[in-house]
Subunit: 256 residues, 7 copies
Amino acid sequence: MQGQQQQQAYDRGITIFSPDGRLYQVEYAREAVKRGTASIGVRTQDGVVLAVDKRVPSPLLEDSSVEKIHRADNHIGIASAGHVADARQLIDFARRQTQVNQLRYGEPIGVETLTKEVTDHIQQYTQVGGARPFGVALIVGGIDNGEPRLFETDPSGTPYEWKALAVGADRGDLQEYLEENYDNEADLDGGIALALDALASVNDGSLLPNEVGLATIDVETEQFEQFDYETIETHLDENDLLGSEDEEEDEDEDDE
Amino acid sequence: MQGQQQQQAYDRGITIFSPDGRLYQVEYAREAVKRGTASIGVRTQDGVVLAVDKRVPSPLLEDSSVEKIHRADNHIGIASAGHVADARQLIDFARRQTQVNQLRYGEPIGVETLTKEVTDHIQQYTQVGGARPFGVALIVGGIDNGEPRLFETDPSGTPYEWKALAVGADRGDLQEYLEENYDNEADLDGGIALALDALASVNDGSLLPNEVGLATIDVETEQFEQFDYETIETHLDENDLLGSEDEEEDEDEDDE
Amino acid sequence: MQGQQQQQAYDRGITIFSPDGRLYQVEYAREAVKRGTASIGVRTQDGVVLAVDKRVPSPLLEDSSVEKIHRADNHIGIASAGHVADARQLIDFARRQTQVNQLRYGEPIGVETLTKEVTDHIQQYTQVGGARPFGVALIVGGIDNGEPRLFETDPSGTPYEWKALAVGADRGDLQEYLEENYDNEADLDGGIALALDALASVNDGSLLPNEVGLATIDVETEQFEQFDYETIETHLDENDLLGSEDEEEDEDEDDE
Amino acid sequence: MQGQQQQQAYDRGITIFSPDGRLYQVEYAREAVKRGTASIGVRTQDGVVLAVDKRVPSPLLEDSSVEKIHRADNHIGIASAGHVADARQLIDFARRQTQVNQLRYGEPIGVETLTKEVTDHIQQYTQVGGARPFGVALIVGGIDNGEPRLFETDPSGTPYEWKALAVGADRGDLQEYLEENYDNEADLDGGIALALDALASVNDGSLLPNEVGLATIDVETEQFEQFDYETIETHLDENDLLGSEDEEEDEDEDDE
Amino acid sequence: MQGQQQQQAYDRGITIFSPDGRLYQVEYAREAVKRGTASIGVRTQDGVVLAVDKRVPSPLLEDSSVEKIHRADNHIGIASAGHVADARQLIDFARRQTQVNQLRYGEPIGVETLTKEVTDHIQQYTQVGGARPFGVALIVGGIDNGEPRLFETDPSGTPYEWKALAVGADRGDLQEYLEENYDNEADLDGGIALALDALASVNDGSLLPNEVGLATIDVETEQFEQFDYETIETHLDENDLLGSEDEEEDEDEDDE
Amino acid sequence: MQGQQQQQAYDRGITIFSPDGRLYQVEYAREAVKRGTASIGVRTQDGVVLAVDKRVPSPLLEDSSVEKIHRADNHIGIASAGHVADARQLIDFARRQTQVNQLRYGEPIGVETLTKEVTDHIQQYTQVGGARPFGVALIVGGIDNGEPRLFETDPSGTPYEWKALAVGADRGDLQEYLEENYDNEADLDGGIALALDALASVNDGSLLPNEVGLATIDVETEQFEQFDYETIETHLDENDLLGSEDEEEDEDEDDE
Amino acid sequence: MQGQQQQQAYDRGITIFSPDGRLYQVEYAREAVKRGTASIGVRTQDGVVLAVDKRVPSPLLEDSSVEKIHRADNHIGIASAGHVADARQLIDFARRQTQVNQLRYGEPIGVETLTKEVTDHIQQYTQVGGARPFGVALIVGGIDNGEPRLFETDPSGTPYEWKALAVGADRGDLQEYLEENYDNEADLDGGIALALDALASVNDGSLLPNEVGLATIDVETEQFEQFDYETIETHLDENDLLGSEDEEEDEDEDDE
């Protein structure tokens, strides 16, 4: 009770520390991320896999309307989770950075460089007053000098590099699943299988093609490629994860 | 009780997250949308239908004064619901964007592009301090490369693409009606019928021509067309929805 | 009691929504309008009538000092109700707009165009921080392409078009009176009679010439014309509304 | 009790409305006016009279130090009441306006024009945040096209035109006295007599020459003229109002 | 009790009026003036006398360090009381004004003109937000066109002209002393005697030369002249006010 | 209890002092530093050693992702502890300063100079409003004119020079360990041993190579050099600190 | 209790007066000065002595790291006490002023001039909003035209000139010691002895050379000179103040 009151005193102002050194607004922005459906990134020897849960709350809502996988550059894709409108701002920022880099240096931007430009942008919203933090986490995947790279940006503005990660709803369970099943030797198909398995693990074991978004950045082609309905269906089928439409009832998380 | 007090602590500041990651000012702006009379959009194979409830609180108020359907460009119409003065701001913003696009690229703006420029504009009012969010939702309908498109902008700044949707008062009942009765194969007249049926379903089963606004953007002509009193009367009559003036008593929602 | 406390929490900040989607500062600005004496507009086939209650609290105060009818352009008049100093700001804004339009397009501004430029200006004061809303309502009357037009601007920045309306004190009773007695076929004299009858109906049935302001914008001449004492006296006399000076006691509303 | 608490909630912020549509800061600024000693203006057929109570709290304070009558232009004088430092700001503003008008149009500014430029300036301080309203009322007297004019500016920024008025301490009693004794036919000497009578009426029936300021703007000369000690003494004597020095004890109001 | 709580509600914000029309921050700034040691100004036929109490709280503090008499121009001196750092700001402002006047008009600034430029500067800090008022009062003495002038600036920004005045600690007693003993016919030496007598009257009847500052502006020379230790000692001796060092114990006021 | 409430009154505003002269926001920023894993700096006769605890909370998180040792210039390295995103801002600031110095003066920046430019930057965030302090401490090591130098920047913006220091979690225990075991005569290997011993002392006596970051700046080469996995493993082995992977369970601190 | 609550109401805002005319934030900044270790200045006939307590809280912290004596110009030294990072800002400001003066006037800045430029800078932070006062006091010593001068700047922005003074911890006891033992006739060595005696008097009667900083500005050379360890040791020894290392236990004040 005492602790709760003390917390309330510090979490209303955006740019101040609590007595134990925490930034509550940033932590609440992390809660905003958890309110979004899950997104997963898996790095394999052959490239990076991005997979997202894109269940829609109404059958009249276009699946394509739930944009959680974005092309940032030819060789970089970004998956997001959390506050959708905030995600769009960061994606726009990232795309401008790729263009600026191309214009200024005549070459594509590095995955790590791009990630850190985004996180530095995010950090400003946690220190300088007059605005709130971004309520979104991004998974940035791509190829740097022939190497697959996979990064996360969180609402505090910290960049992390991962072998595989999940953000959004059920992050705890998903991350645990990824840790137990990640295989350093896997190829792209293995990465896709792992990502879909993980998503299905928190979804009654099966998925519908229209409820999933999938993209890869291949080390060979260095091209971001987003999968269509049929290809997703094939992958689900190959991994015995293809659900039937009837089950599509529950919708307990929503991107806002 | 406890929960209510906790909520009060976070909903007065515009740009901050609550502990569970919500932006209360945005959610209250959604309530402002619900205080406006309903607007409906229906996408058909032959084009997009916009239909709005425009009942007026006084017989001396000009029906035309209730502007809920707006021409954004030759090929794009917008229906609004919620805070009227806010809607005007966004419509003006949208119209400027169509002109800028025409000037800069020499071609009409895409429906999706326009929608996202509007939602990005809306998002700024939810993150940066010194202003409140827009208390309005827009339905943006038009033709992109020969394809009918139907979008929604909500107060958070999220763009959604729909087959059919309702915003404003009775959204829950209207959206349910649309989901149960939407027909993928319908033509424009079918779309008009669905939209009017839905509006009538929450209005004692009938409508008066002056209480309804109706517009279409046809795939063939790619022209936004707003209907006059007689045409609306004909459509109501054809769909057995034409009410008699006597019933026009209740006015339980009001745009403010 | 509970409800009252909840309200208090949201009505002190200018630019925020209450949990039920209302903007209390705008609603309180509407109360400021009601604190002013009444103004009435009536649209007839032959032009627009503006009539205002301009009772003064002291016999030493010049009647002409109570400026509630303003010439905006040759063909447009504006009646105001509410906070007098705010009204002057909006009238000045409107006059500048008429001049800008004349300079830019070489023709007089439209009544609807002018009204919407004013309401858009008003809206800014309800969304952006650092200022309060305008505590005034305007009745804008004039001739557009030979057609009489009558608009209202309210503190939210919403434009309304009316056949006849009242703003300020006793709006409820006056509007009811107008609804019951409005005649679509009336000429200018009929409009004047209706307006004066309405004003007298909340004023013990009679009026003094110096307590009333009256103006018309005639469809023929397209000229705003403000009436002098004698003309007003004649109209009151013709309509059996001419009071005697003795009754001039009560002064229950005051423009501030 | 309830009402009082409710009031407290709305009167601390400068730019917001109370639930009943009032601007408390403006009303409190009016109280600041009442804390100043009285000033009176009287319009006669032959010109305008300004008379002020300028009693000083200490015999060592120079009478001339209490500046309550100011020359704004050759043909315009201003009397003030309330917060002295604020009055100086507005007088300076008024003088700059007279000069700007002379430079821009090559002719002296009108009394009404000047008054409204001042009130528009005052209004800004009641709507835009970051400053408080002016705690002063001005009486602006002068000659417009051969006609004597007498205006008031109040802290809300409203301009009033008067035949005769009082501002500052005892406004109620003074205004009542003026209403009962005002004579439309009076000449300048009659106006001076009325103003001095009124001041004496709230001051035990007599006045000392050094405690009164007096000025006229004559229709013939169109010149603002401030009276010296001897002339004031003569006027007091002629009107049987000349007090003796002994009575000069009480000092119950003070300009601050 | 009730009254005290009400006061607390209005005295924390710098730029707002209390319900009775007072500006508490300005009144508190006046308290800051009273916390400083006293300063006195006396106008005589032959010039102006400035005298200040400059007792120091430590014998190691240089007497000259307590700067309470300042040369503003050749013919103008200023004595201050209150918040020392604030005084320095205003003195600097005054000096810049004297230079600007000399440059712009080629002649020395008038004493009254300078005083009013300072008070207008002070007023801004009482009306516009973002700063607090100046916690200092100035006594401005000098020669205007061969006439000795003596002004006061107070924290509200009001200019007063005096024959003789005291500011700072014991103002009440000192001003009473001045009123009782002021002689219109006195010469400079008489003015010095009055000022020192007054200071001594609240200091056990005697003064030490190092505890007093003394300056004159002579009508003949029109030169500001500050007195040295010996001259002050002589004046104290001549007026039988010279104390012995032993008594120098109490230090009950302090400039901060 | 009393004390705790008093504290709460002063720790929410960033730029104000508490009654006992403390800046709570700065002290809370120090708590943010303690929430980060430890970093150690050791100065030896032959150069500077930087060692950091970089345990990761998930086996899928790339060790390299935890960037706690940064190259600022050829001859300067920086270790950080605390809020990671804040650290990145300061590192970027430091790197820009090194480049500016090189451009402006044609020579590398001094270690002390760089440290003080960083601390001056930090101080601004503790005095000027509108932002919070930096929640990070830096250890800046390098070679100045052939001399090894070791500095700390803390959240108040104070620069300290050390022989050896620890920041972050367990600072108390680590600093005590360093004080007891520091040897003025040690060479670089001795410094590395001391740093690793200290880290192991709060980590069950052993470390894993991937959980440790290690870098040196050698007096001879004047080059910042960061160690790879194998070299770290060798050093751990040589100092009998090499742990086995199994123990890698607990993760009680986390950089945020 | 009552008094305490009243105080709390006024000490949180930086730029407002309390009802008794105090600026609490400035008084709290003075408390921040007291939290720093002591600094002493002594003016002698032959020059100025600056002496500071620079005990360090850890044996690994470099003594030189505690910078409390600063060279401002060839002929001016500054000792500080209080918030270290704030001191650095003021020292930097002072140094820039010395350079500006040299560039602008071609001669070294005066000690008094420099002090007042610093205090005017400090004052701004006590009157204008958006920042807190400086939590530091400076002792500025130097030679003006062959005369030794010794000034203090305090957090209110007031300049004081002293014969001898102490700031920081134990100011009360130290200042009392200086008052009792100050000798107007002392030479530089006498001044050094007095300063060290005073420091030792609050430190168990002895000092360690590394715990003391010492500097002089000699009237002859007009050069600021800071003493090294050996010279300090000699002075301590000559004055029988040289402590033994063993006693170096207590550390009850800390610069923060």
